[in-house]
């Protein structure tokens, strides 16, 4: 039918297939990074990977699911806390770091029935309140020493060099796995469902989309992803102060990266994370003015460039490097290939 109308649905372009292959090759090449990069570069790249994870998670929630959370630091902090707890029970430290992230995902699952029924601003600040509550509850654990915090002492079993490289590989693996997971989820049935929900929940429900189930998948993935970002940060910083890990600034960074890169585009948050990383490297030393600049930039983008850097480019030039959507193209000649399926 589509062939007769001269229309076809396009899910890949040669350019996008090439860019996915290039990205996979880049990830593979980065795996050899510690062999030829200096210590400082390895450290900085680890941070960048964590930023990419955070940005992609927040974008999956808000840009695709329409779930604007100001409380993702809840999972960031819980992941780090769980890693410390698990390690104190005698679990080897790197498995504890991974399981810490999984724990944050479990908490997201437990919260989802409640949290996902909240609407708009109620959800946004409700999540923030949950983050505050978790912060206070974590402080009750004597292991943490209140706001003084503690350290992931088990990491001392590794020398600085080995630890740096392991952190790098873990961060790279987590980033690659989560980006690939979100990419395949959004390309599949879930992607269409959540975007329909984002645009109109009632209409989506009336078409048979299982609203809560679709949102829950994103919420749990984002919870686990932010939890892993928290444990990775713990792995690089070693020390754990509850106020830092449960601070709303993490969500501020996520919002900035996703917004500047392009909310609701797949490539956007990755670009936003790189922009944020560069800005931080260049201006981070100027302290408070840097934060003023971040806030002001976020306002300007929200008002004047709501599609972000990538979304604007994408709209103008019609490029899609990592396509998660469907694109209808008209063809001059009837396609030679048989209709799909």
């Amino acid at each position: 039918m589509s062939a007769r109308a001269g229309l076809s649905i396009q899910r890949w372009t040669p350019l996008s297939a090439a860019s996915v292959a290039a990205l996979a090759a880049l990830a593979l090449a980065l795996a050899f990074g510690p062999l030829f990069l200096g210590a400082n570069a390895v450290d900085r790249l680890t941070t960048l990977f964590i930023y990419v994870v955070l940005a992609v998670m927040w974008n999956a929630l808000a840009g695709y699911g329409g779930l604007v959370s100001v409380g993702q630091q809840a999972f960031f902090g819980l992941g780090a806390y769980a890693a410390i707890r698990l390690s104190s029970f005698g679990l080897p430290v790197y498995p504890a770091l991974v399981l810490g992230g999984a724990f944050a995902g479990l908490v997201a699952l437990a919260l989802s029935s409640f949290a996902l029924r909240l609407r708009g601003g109620e959800f946004a600040i409700g999540m923030w309140v949950l983050a505050e509550l978790f912060h206070l509850l974590v402080n009750l654990d004597r292991l943490i020493n209140g706001e003084t915090g503690t350290s992931l002492i088990a990491l001392n079993a590794f020398g600085p060099e080995a630890r740096r490289n392991y952190n790098y590989w873990l961060a790279l693996a987590v980033m690659a796995a989560l980006v690939a997971l979100v990419f395949s989820l959004l390309r599949g049935r879930l992607g269409s469902s959540v975007q329909a929900i984002r645009d109109s929940e009632e209409a989506a429900a009336s078409l048979g989309v299982r609203v809560l189930a679709a949102k829950r998948v994103l919420f749990v993935v984002a919870g686990a992803g932010c939890g892993l970002a928290g444990t990775l940060t713990l792995a690089t910083a070693v020390s754990f102060q509850p106020a830092t890990y449960f601070g709303v600034q993490w969500t501020a960074y996520m919002i900035f990266m996703a917004l500047v890169g392009g909310l609701g585009t797949f490539e956007g948050p990755i670009i936003g994370a790189i922009v944020f990383f560069v800005l931080e490297s260049v201006f981070g030393a100027s302290g408070v003015w840097y934060l003023v600049g971040l806030g002001a930039t976020a306002v300007v983008f929200a008002l004047y460039l709501p599609r972000g850097l990538w979304g604007t480019l994408e709209q103008r030039f019609g490029i899609r490097l990592l396509p998660v959507g469907y694109r209808v193209t008209t063809r001059r000649r009837a396609p030679a290939a048989p209709s799909p399926r």
């Binding site: 100001v70 409640f114 708009g120 600040i125 505050e132 509550l133 934060l291």
Partner: protein, 290 residues
């Protein structure tokens, strides 16, 4: 007796929460948006009042009278320059813009005033510590009583404004249906801007009372936003007297929590907020609304 005292102190604290929350409630009722810079605007007003008092030695109440029109103008400007553009684009853009604004305000305050915490308590003399005694064990501070009274007056004034003035009628019409309101000749841009100006002026009053009753610093805004939001949600979004009830529930829960354990103050407050939200959702499900 100790428990009764905590309840009474909690009610008085609830007056403060209602005071800081009424602007948030008002703005949500009219524009259906939540201003994430709400707490930071309160702190900005507190710093302005503090700076005037510090330079001139005048009464904080007089200084507040000077700051009020300034904050009103700021609210007007914020609406015209920022929120107006984002109102029709759903819930996402207003949340993002006001969140960005919050970060800007906090850090500019830090640049201007530094990290020191300040208070207006030294500037109000006896009012800061005098109290009435009820029986032998229960005392109500003059300032707490005044705060509660001002909260009631302000909520009453906002309620009267909504029900008995032409501006109030326009506001309610727009809250109901902006397109139809435009059709019958209401200039929604001006009405929104006026509502924002009023809301930010009430925030200035809240911020000043915060500065008189406690200490504050440049990053104290988000905590005030959370308390205000909790009071608004517990009381029911958009209802003025509900906000007072919500503030009281929050204040009582916090004080009872503090009586149980030293760090129970905040935990009990957040817990009661989540319980109320959860109960409301459960009731909606029982009624069958999705």
């Amino acid at each position: 007796m100790i428990w009764l005292n905590q309840v009474i102190q909690g009610v008085m604290l609830g007056g403060y929460y209602a005071l800081i929350a009424c602007g948030l409630s008002f703005m949500f009722g009219v524009m259906r948006i939540i201003n994430l810079a709400h707490g930071d605007l309160a702190i900005l007003a507190a710093f302005l009042v503090w700076a005037i008092v510090d330079r001139s030695g005048m009464s904080p109440f007089l200084a507040l009278a000077l700051v009020l029109p300034l904050m009103g103008a700021l609210g007007w400007l914020m609406q015209r320059a920022m929120l107006e553009r984002s109102l029709r684009s759903g819930v996402l853009v207003p949340l993002l813009t006001t969140f960005g604004l919050a970060i800007v305000i906090q850090n500019l305050l830090f640049l201007q005033f530094g990290a020191d915490t300040r208070s207006l308590a030294p500037a109000i003399g006896d009012l800061a510590f005098e109290s009435w005694s009820i029986g032998s064990r229960i005392y109500i501070g003059h300032l707490a009583g005044l705060t509660f009274l001002v909260a009631v007056l302000m909520l009453g004034a906002l309620q009267l404004l909504l029900t008995h003035t032409p501006l109030g009628r326009s506001i309610r019409a727009i809250a109901e249906d902006p397109d139809t309101a435009e059709l019958v000749g209401i200039d929604s841009r001006r009405v929104y801007a006026a509502a924002a100006a009023i809301a930010v002026m009430t925030v200035a009053v809240g911020g000043t009372f915060l500065a008189m009753r406690a200490t504050f610093g440049p990053y104290a805004g988000p905590a005030q936003l959370i308390f205000a939001f909790e009071a608004v949600v517990i009381g029911g979004l958009g209802s003025m007297w509900g906000t007072l009830a919500g503030g009281i529930v929050l204040g009582v829960a916090q004080n009872l929590g503090a009586q149980i354990a030293p760090n129970g103050f905040l935990i009990a407050g957040h817990a009661v907020f989540l319980l109320v939200l959860g109960a409301r959702l459960a009731r909606q499900r029982l009624k069958g609304t999705p």
